[in-house]
Subunit: 368 residues, 2 copies
């Protein structure tokens, strides 16, 4: 698969899970694909600088809710791995301050806060006083988040596979694929699973303005994997639905509220309405870590507003006149009522979501 | 107003209607704003070359159903104005062949065929045998189409004004404004009329991928006229509707079938569904010449498919990987059932459209 987020240890080994011998784990670096350059160039960035990691997340060099979580955890481990702290307390102080900085990079993806929180708690509850050992523990925790993410993607793929049949058409929005997660991705996981089974699926990929994650990333990774993909502009999805080309819509999610409302890339809400109008099932694929039961419904999810220049300037060319106002919300909320099911690593949640999400979270909590 | 399409006579006078003295009318040229360069540059093109005019229409240097009709008529007059034909028959032969070529430039806009047809018929039914006089007659006919278009835009503005109130928000898609017609445009005509009355209207303008007519053209011309305009990406229209910012949707049309189905820029159909979901009235503004009663319903309207490069490459940068398939329909059909009303120069047509369009066309035909 595509190695979107990885750890590079002190011997330059590239890791996606904890190694048998942990001696060379630190100092190490976060390694990501620079998605800003795709599809023209495949380039990697390795770093252990806090402000660089902050910028990489903020400018969407790494994006997609699960990938942001993994990158934040590994990034935090890289930054803290070179700490000069002499005591456990000093180290934990630095850890908290770095985690706080990283959590401000994107406001909507709950996985970001969740991954940073898990790392912090792991260190805080450990009784280790040796700073070097704490550093190793932190990398191991971050790698365990990545490994779990990879496993969750595979499970989502298996569960979602039941919704696909040979010859069917799937519409997806933005990129919730391998480039958005550790491995198979979320929304694209059932498609990769279908590919492994030899099913022919055609994916219609909304280009997803303004940053074109669908055109640049979804098309790139599906083509690489040998899946047939057709790129359309966002305003063409109603037409392809009307032409009978779409049997199912599958999208990812950046945050899921306790009632099943979901926040995802701007445009998702509109696609859900169009799917309903055409009687096409609309599914959300997301791992456990995307669910935020502290938020009762979608109205409580903060929506990131991004710079107007993302829309005004397109590849260096001005497409909206100066001084014309621009509105650029990065996400929207799709109400639970428009969602046919939520594909998770444990199976497909169905309405009423308040009950099914509650049960699902109870089961998960037992695992800890 | 904006001088989107004009005639330049042999004395370099710029005309939007027939002059009192016709002596210097020929040879003359079609003069258009090169809309491919907006909003960065306002440049005009003057030409009397058939293939240049064909290309200008095909590449959307001039676009918008009414403007295409006017440009085709004036372009035809310019091309035929330099004819070396010695006889009426030879002249009519050239006229027919040039009209046929121009009618192949865009397949969906009925105004194109209509304007060329009117010009041809006018010459064919005249009993004039002097070729120079036929040339002048042709320019006069083309100028009368332009003048009538300007008058129709103003009437649409007046009729549509009744739908607007101070402080309201309007969503529009693509550009059906001054740059798409002789004058006020169609969808934007009620907004310009409201502006003249001193009403404050906020227009939300979908950027309209792939060619960004909403971002480049609608925002440009409304800002120039002092109307408040907010540009959004196509996939944000559901969100602004949900936020209560939109009180009415007004779009143009490239062709209207006898039952009220309309073809318009790709994305219009989706916006109509979103408007219905949010209980927002959805209006189409179009002049008489857009109605094609020879077509029973939307399924009979040919939909132009455009080159995939319009989506794949933006400003020289590849945004979709090579070999990834692209689907690029230029138009879609919005079924009559989603349309609250059709704003014409004679008033607002209401469902059932089969009856209201039939009556409207009967009235119009009486005028001839």
């Amino acid at each position: 698969m595509i190695d979107t987020v990885r750890w590079v240890d002190s011997k330059k080994q590239i890791l996606s899970s904890a190694p048998d011998k942990t001696r060379s784990l630190i100092p190490g670096k976060l390694r990501i694909i620079d998605q800003r350059l795709l599809p023209e160039k495949l380039e990697y960035i390795e770093t252990d600088e806090l402000e660089t990691i902050f910028e990489l997340i903020k400018t969407l060099a790494v994006r997609g809710a699960p990938a942001i979580g993994c990158a934040a955890a590994l990034g935090l481990a890289a930054v803290c791995g070179k700490s000069g702290a002499k005591t456990r307390n000093a180290f934990i102080g630095e850890l908290r301050s770095s985690a706080e900085r990283l959590s401000a990079s994107r406001p909507t993806a709950v996985n970001l806060f969740w991954a940073l929180e898990i790392c912090k708690i792991k260190i805080e509850v450990s009784e280790e006083s040796d700073v070097e050992k704490l550093k190793t523990l932190l990398v191991l925790e971050a790698l365990s988040i990545l490994r779990e993410d990879i496993a969750m993607c595979r499970s989502i793929g298996e569960k979602g596979l039941a919704l696909l049949e040979d010859g069917k058409g799937v519409l997806t929005h933005c990129n919730a694929g391998a480039l958005a997660a550790g491995d198979f991705g979320t929304a694209l996981a059932p498609i990769y699973a279908a590919r492994e089974k030899g099913l022919n699926i055609t994916v219609y990929s909304d280009e997803t303005r303004p940053l074109l994650q669908g055109a640049r990333l979804t098309a790139w990774e599906l083509q690489r994997a040998g899946v047939k993909v057709v790129t359309i502009c966002d305003n063409m999805s109603a037409q392809v639905m009307r032409e009978g080309k779409i049997n199912i819509v599958i999208v990812g999610a950046d945050r899921i509220a306790a009632n099943g409302d979901i926040a995802n890339k701007i445009g998702t809400y509109g696609v859900a309405i169009l799917a309903k109008h055409h009687n096409i099932p609309f599914y959300v694929a997301a791992p456990y870590s995307t669910i935020d039961i502290s938020i009762a419904d979608g109205s409580g999810i903060p929506i990131e507003q991004r710079l107007s220049e993302e829309i005004r300037i397109f590849n260096g060319k001005k497409i909206v006149p100066d001084n014309v106002e621009i509105y650029n919300p990065a996400f929207d909320v799709t109400p639970a009522g428009l969602i046919t099911g939520i594909i998770t690593e444990r199976g497909i949640l169905k309405p009423p979501y308040t009950a099914s999400i509650k049960n699902f979270m109870k089961e998960k909590i037992k695992d800890f």
